[in-house]
């Protein structure tokens, strides 16, 4: 499998603090790749660099063979990377449908075509029946799925998910996991997710990268990573694998 996203010796400093330290890894095309690690490990900083919120201090990020580091967030999205936010930020005053239409309009000129595509995406995310509600009226699980729907509507090749399972009940987590798995299987969508909910990570990921203090401490298939001594000590804790 060829790499869709290639992170090459990327570093980011905030004043004295090194948030991401010469990080390198590759996300294979068509895979579901999870980044885990304790709070402050640099996961969201990594995401923000990929999504164009800020540029890395050094290193390179390549997507589909082209450099994307330093591009603005809208340009990154137009290259084919969709993202969600850790703290969900749907457009509150807009209806669920209009939220998704905004995403669908990226590659569609006409609102009618965008609406048709939005309906398709909303059905996949189990939100079709709520399409006329205001986004601000949704429950947290629904808002999380709306974020995914909105990003998906931009027809990304790579979807960045920033803790979409956080704060959800196990049944809700399983629901999103099933949806994401189906998307990955049916449309070949590559997914890169940051996640704390190990239940979701283990069910979803084909590969896991463990970050600690901005650097990789382990990378591999889920079953290998959870047995890694360094991972257990720094993040999972002994009871997680018992």
């Amino acid at each position: 499998m060829s790499a869709l996203l290639k992170i090459d010796a990327v570093s980011k400093r905030f004043r004295g603090l090194v948030a991401v330290d010469r990080l390198s890894f590759e996300v294979p095309k068509g895979g579901i790749f999870a980044v885990i690690g304790p709070n402050g490990a640099g996961k969201t900083t990594l995401f923000n660099m990929i999504a164009g919120v800020f540029a890395p201090d050094s290193g390179a990020i390549a997507f589909a063979g082209e450099r994307i580091d330093g591009l603005t967030p809208d340009r990154v999205c137009r290259r084919g990377i969709g993202r969600t936010f850790q703290l969900v930020r749907p457009f509150p005053a807009l209806s669920v449908e209009d939220n998704v239409i905004v995403g669908a309009l990226l590659h569609r000129q006409h609102v009618n075509a965008a609406r048709a595509h939005a309906h398709e995406v909303l059905r996949r995310l189990d939100l079709y029946d709520k399409r006329v509600q205001r986004a601000s009226a949704l429950t947290l699980p629904d808002r999380k799925r709306l974020e995914v729907a909105r990003a998906l509507a931009t027809d990304p090749k790579l979807l960045l998910l920033d803790e979409v399972m956080a704060g959800l009940r196990p049944t809700e987590t399983d629901r999103i996991v099933a949806i994401l798995k189906a998307l990955n299987r049916e449309s070949g969508l590559t997914i890169l997710l940051i996640e704390h909910v190990m239940r979701a990570v283990m069910a979803l990921a084909s590969r896991i990268l463990v970050l600690h203090h901005g650097a990789v401490i382990s990378e591999g298939a889920p079953s290998e990573v959870v047995r890694d001594r360094a991972v257990i000590d720094s993040y999972l804790g002994a009871e997680a694998v018992s």
């Binding site: 999504a51 919120v53 603005t72 967030p73 809208d74 999205c77 137009r78 969709g82 993202r83 936010f85 930020r89 749907p90 457009f91 509150p92 005053a93 807009l94 209806s95 209009d98 239409i101 905004v102 995403g103 309009l105 990226l106 000129q109 006409h110 609102v111 965008a114 006329v132 509600q133 205001r134 009226a137 909105r150 990003a151 931009t154």
Partner: protein, 333 residues
Amino acid sequence: MRAMWSAIPRRGRVILLVLVALLLTAPLALDRYFISVLILIFYFAFVGQAWNIMMGFAGQLSLGHALYAGLGGYVAALLWFYFGIGPWLGVFAGVAIAALFGAVIGWLGFRFGIEGVYFALLTIAFAEFTRIAFDNMAFTGGAGGLFLLYDASRAHEWWNLRGGPLLFYYLGFALAAGAALLTAWLARSRIGFQWLAVREDQEAALSLGIDAFRAKMIAILISSSMTAIGGVLLAFYYNSLFPAQAFDISRSIEIILAPIIGGLGTIFGPIVGAFILTPLGEGLIALTAKFGIDVPGTKAVFYGLTLMVIITLRPDGVWPWLKRMLGLDETKP
């Protein structure tokens, strides 16, 4: 256009058609005074709509819209005054100059991330220094003002805006109606959705591939151009221009009151707001004049009180409430 019409509920279409018919035939029954009030209502509905595109849809607060109206009016009036170039041509020059100022303000604000109240301060600053410049430029008449001669022998030249109140009445009506149609069309188009996204959450909009800078620039260009057209109309209606009036912040505030009271980000908000506010303001002037208590600033205080009352009672503006009352609201909560 057809999609826009079919989006209006049946009852709404009937009400709309009746209102349009009433306004078109109203001059037959009304005297000059009421026609002059309606002309002002149309003017404020029109420029309010222009401001609404920028604030209500794209979420960019401008407190200096008098700048565009003043520039449009002055440019067209100066061309007429010095070269005899009619406003039907002068309006293009007025719009171009106003749009140029809009582009500079937009570029400065949106390129350098001057947002919210700071952007509003920028718009005020431009209006203020333009006012000071016009106060001191001899060829614009300076602080003493610019006067257009009203020549009765040319009163038939409607294309030069040399006509009576009826001309301005129907022109004002056409502009207000045209602006509402344009806004409705924009709101249902790609750029309309992009504006809403930028207004709601710019960072999220960027993450969906929206070029927020471009979207906001389009908004300020359309808004400043429309406002300049309104300024041309007013300049030839009053036949006089004074920097202290044309560019004053109180003028900018007058422009933004109707859409705020009527309902930001709605098509009918600026129209409803203008129909509420302008008659109240004009009625107040008539009353105070009658009782001889006409003190400068009375209108401003009155507008302020009206704004406070309506915003307290209907924070989203009158139109969303009125829409529900008339049974025209089909969206579910």
